[in-house]
Subunit: 223 residues, 2 copies
């Protein structure tokens, strides 16, 4: 019931005919598990229990991994879509709703042409003491800008170049992102973005995203 | 037994007089727990067990979080050091050895002046299907370049600007990084770096790192 489209240099986008309602239901079931694993990640950094308890909990975690691993999918999650236009990329490092490593970033494509993102960055995203790791900000900016360039997934783009200017420290906690297409010229999409904390803008970024040749309709430029 | 140094716009670097041997011992005890949580994260993305089992495992994960959370440290892990010159930043998003979100990146400062890094990027670091998320690469490059600029932690630097050029897709799996100081001019350190997979270079980067005024000895430039 699945078909695979393999693109040059890429893994596969999988067309899988699971109804949207069933995807929504699966996300509801798995959401609490992913949230629970995120909390476990956080406390793994902060725990002060004694050595014997660390060893006992380690054994218990392994047992749970074995239980979940029974008949698990092989390899990474990939990107899936059904014919209703619903897609799911559960393993994505920035937005994957089943990936405890993803903060996750929540993205909205707003009617004013601005792509907005929000994420809560706690203990696991620390760089300098008490501050968001500059690279964690870069991860979120890269993702938001890619989504901005794709215009609600109406065109395929790849990151060409990305420049970030670090303006101010960004404390751990809630962060907000905004991205905009400045202009598009042939297969190049020029995007600007920023990430902000409670005290305002912390990093501003601009990037050039490329529409691959194979994705250009009629060979004359993106539609 | 601890003293806190708070720098402008930063949380605290904590001087904590724990002997290096005890820090090493704690890392040995906690290493297997962190590895086990990383495996749990991975299988959380890939599992196909039924709804009832997802709910049971969710409850069991919460119970383990409660056990580890008993008397846990408040807030993020910060950066600690003792008077023997050993430092530990267990929560760091790129290299934190107690942070299951960190791949972790292993960094070495080699005698040829090159800073090298290696990391194994599995399922949780996916962007396009089967490929490393461009932002996950950016996180590792940012971190390695900051470590390069700091010259084995002999000077404090902050990221000023960072530019990345995406040359080729980077498959999930082992990645290698290299960073070099190209030149230093006053308080600016110019660093170049790259990240590579089995097929060679995937992203090249250059950045300007800034030595803050308060860290400049005699006000005349970094020593």
């Amino acid at each position: 019931m699945t078909s695979h489209t393999t693109l040059e240099g890429l893994g596969s986008f999988v067309h899988e005919e699971i109804p949207t309602a069933e995807i929504d239901r699966l996300e509801e079931i798995h959401g609490p598990l992913v949230a629970a694993v995120r909390d476990l990640v956080d406390v793994t950094i902060r725990t002060r229990v004694d050595d014997a308890e660390v060893r006992r909990v380690t054994a218990a975690v392994k047992e749970l991994t074995d239980r979940l691993g029974h008949d698990a999918m092989e390899g990474p999650a990939g990107v899936h879509y059904n014919s209703e236009g619903r897609s799911w990329n559960w393993g994505n490092a920035a937005v994957g709703m089943r990936n405890p490593v993803a903060p996750p970033l929540k993205v909205s494509h707003d009617d004013d042409g601005v792509t907005r993102g929000v994420a809560s960055l706690g203990t696991p995203y620390e760089g300098p003491p008490g501050l968001v790791h500059g690279g964690a900000s870069a991860l979120l900016l890269d993702h938001l800008m890619g989504e901005t360039a794709s215009m609600r997934h109406s065109q395929v783009t790849f990151t060409g170049t990305l420049t970030m200017r670090y303006l101010a420290p960004l404390p751990l906690g809630e962060v907000r992102l905004e991205g905009r297409i400045e202009r598009q010229s042939g297969r190049k999409v020029f995007v600007t973005a920023e990430i902000s904390g409670p005290a305002g803008r912390a990093i501003e970024a601009d990037g050039v995203f490329i529409v691959p040749r194979w994705a250009v309709r009629d060979g004359a430029g993106p539609a």
